[in-house]
Symmetry: C4
């Protein structure tokens, strides 16, 4: 049960999918969320899945909605631009096999509506305090490295890290299996996965706007991040929650009343 619910039927032209799901430093989530808002992108589909947390979220204080990933699109407005579809959302899959299934569903939908290239945005938590403006890249094919060679992307990701976790990596790995190409941009961030890093998001965003030939007013980013704060807190809480589920039970160790639990079978 992983469902893509189409809201508006689309056929895009030479489109690029830009992924920004919650992850390390929430860099993709912040950067792509800002693009969606600034460009007035329109929602065209939602995805929900049994592989997400068995929770519902509350918005506007009283309103329930399932955890979701959402697709927004903008058509090319001037020469040098491409049709774009943005992927944002509340969470990624909770289980390993779920990651594969959700990413395959996303790519099925992307292919169907005419996506040709996939761009994923994530964070690289190095623990270093320096070099944070750096944007690190990895691609499915050498051609893309040349195509985007004039931008200051550090394509030596492999020196810093052995692999890319979750949707930012898997979407590209599975896309390559379909003989298609894509690029991953990672903003370098200091800390622990759970702390949002808007500065790193800004660095990546600057690169993305150049790649896609967009005119985006970056001055509102900080303000927008503040507005998104409530949502971001929930997403961070979700991520913490995932970590805590195991922890909680461990803390129960000394729980009394175990006599009722005599093992049998």
């Amino acid at each position: 049960m992983t469902v893509v619910k189409v809201i508006e039927k689309l056929k895009l032209n030479n489109a690029v999918l830009i992924e920004g799901l919650p992850g390390v430093g929430n860099i993709g989530r912040v950067a792509v969320g800002y693009l969606v808002e600034e460009m007035g992108a329109k929602k065209c589909a939602e995805l929900y899945s049994k592989w997400f947390f068995p929770f519902v979220m509350l918005h506007d204080n009283y309103k329930i909605h399932l955890l979701k990933n959402e697709f927004y699109y903008v058509k090319a407005k001037k020469k040098g631009q491409r049709d774009m579809i943005f992927l944002v959302g509340d969470c990624q899959s909770l289980s390993p096999q779920g990651h594969y299934e959700v990413c395959e569903k996303i790519l099925d939908y992307a292919e169907e509506i005419g996506v040709k290239e996939v761009m994923t945005i994530g964070g690289l938590a190095t623990g270093d305090l320096e070099g944070k403006e750096r944007v690190i890249g990895a691609v499915t094919d050498k051609g893309l490295m040349k195509k985007y060679g004039s931008l200051k992307i550090d394509f030596k990701a492999g020196e810093k890290v052995g692999y890319i976790v979750g949707a930012a990596g898997l979407l590209l790995g599975l896309w390559k299996e379909r003989d298609k190409d894509g690029i991953c941009l990672l903003g370098q961030t200091t800390g622990f996965p759970i702390v949002t890093d808007p500065k790193a998001a800004e660095s990546v965003l600057a690169t993305v706007t150049k790649m896609l030939n967009l005119d985006i007013d970056m001055t509102k980013l900080e303000k927008k991040v503040k507005e998104m704060e409530n949502f971001i807190k929930k997403v961070e809480a979700l991520q913490k929650r995932a970590l805590m589920d195991i922890t909680k039970s461990t803390q129960q160790k000394g729980a009394k009343g175990d006599e009722q639990l005599r093992y049998i079978g």
Copy 2:
């Protein structure tokens, strides 16, 4: 393998499903269990699932039954009432993806027999000792908030909590995907999920009876809770057991005899 076993075929009229599965403070379980008894509701279906614990329970000391969720119904008896179907049971799903699958099966059955609205009952463990009489609400749509506006439901759930876990939340989130509406009522409770809170159950029950225009004698609640004690203890033990499964293995750390377990492969 999630099976709904129909005992009596039904077609209800404008019915409301009222969920009260075990959860935080067992508030839903106690409140809905009391309604089932007081109204003499009749069992119409049972659900069991591979996503429940791999246990059987014992009742009347000697009799084995699978862990189950049960559906009971009452038809409207006077004007201003609606047909009602109650969902109670031994447990919720043990795994995240199981939660989604079991809730979908419940809603499939609900739709089939004519349910129009879903009402879920749960607990909100705040740790606070005060304000326990409060009933907190969340809805799938603003309309329902207005419909039940005259009752003292605090519709600012989102200020206190980011999400609703398990069946109390998922049933509504998935119901909304079917373009249908529902409401969640949460009784505020102090403590840890595993301690039953009949007082909080009473507060929620008072609200539910007003919403559904029922005449329920509440004086027997405390007595009934005592009668249910044996069952509740088992349910609490089940919940503890789930937490202990991981813990137990952790306690094994120092176990001797590991020499026989030389790693190979």
Copy 3:
């Protein structure tokens, strides 16, 4: 992928399935294993499953076989006896949902070959040193309690325990859903699930032979248990291993070389 591989096609008459898979105190495994040997039962089917450990076992020092459950049968030899099919094996399912799926497969096969009644044998670890000769029973239906009422079975299992874990319980719970009957016999044992208790096995065995009107020489039990020792050690090691899998990773905590594992995504 749970496969029942039929070795000999059978049609039994009014048969009883007697389950003795590894579990608490290995009581079922020892008791039913002894019956298989003493009665010269013939193997008629094997079951293996993706829900078992991803291991193979070695026997005769050099020979590999998958983890399996095995079915052996004996036809009634004299009046007052019934056709019998014994279920023994290396292990039970490793995951909760696997337990349900494996038990359903076992019951599908049992129904197909003519089984009418299921008898499961397990252990009840009370931690008490006394009362070990007691055999505790639970049934799917009152009728069976009467049928076996003349034997000294303590049918107040529910006073000592809330539920029965694993195959010993689930086979009966799922069998009851097929509108068929069965009984569970539990030998009371002191200790931890992982220590084999041949004395408790003997108590249960004495009851089983009366129930099934068998002439079994019990004097060889102790000797046989010694012969089975090597096999039992492996089974116990398997059970320990399951517990250790989580533990091991926890012990890795302080592992160095984590720098190579900078989190990314």
Copy 4:
């Protein structure tokens, strides 16, 4: 979703499949990887699976690929040799049931292209510092023990170990269910599963070349292991990572900000 992607269609003659996936001491991975290189084996298929880690790996610093198992083949070149197909890769399955599913897919493909015998290579971590040159064997059938009897394989594996974990064992157990035969060779190694042991790999390799009548220059093994170092480090990191996933969450215990996580449902 476990996919075998065929690159070159094959029909082999009386072929042997030689498995060398990452495992204890990476003995299989090093030994079979060396054979692939030295013999100039050609890639004929790749396998990826939702049961692998939800990661992509980076090679050549910038290039993304899914975690994979790979098949390489060499046809017999002289009398006394057989067609050979080698199985190497980045990882094994992350979950128990995944192991079964991936191994079944491997064997489906093997059967299809004409494999008659399966040979798996693994490590046996005894903790002993002595006897490391020993190669320990286990087979699916006595015949194979005789066939390879002239080589110094210690067929008393069962004395040292009760079972063989993962692909090295399961491929043979499941192959036997198809009424086919195979052999497992284990290099004895001292240490913890995560440290590569090229010496033990060399001992096994010497045995394999005799079994398959190959002329392999072993002098380059040490050099090749150094060249493979970067890859091996990643594989070791993957294995550590699997262990750390649980650990990490445990370390979160004292995490602040839990107030936002009031339990609800």
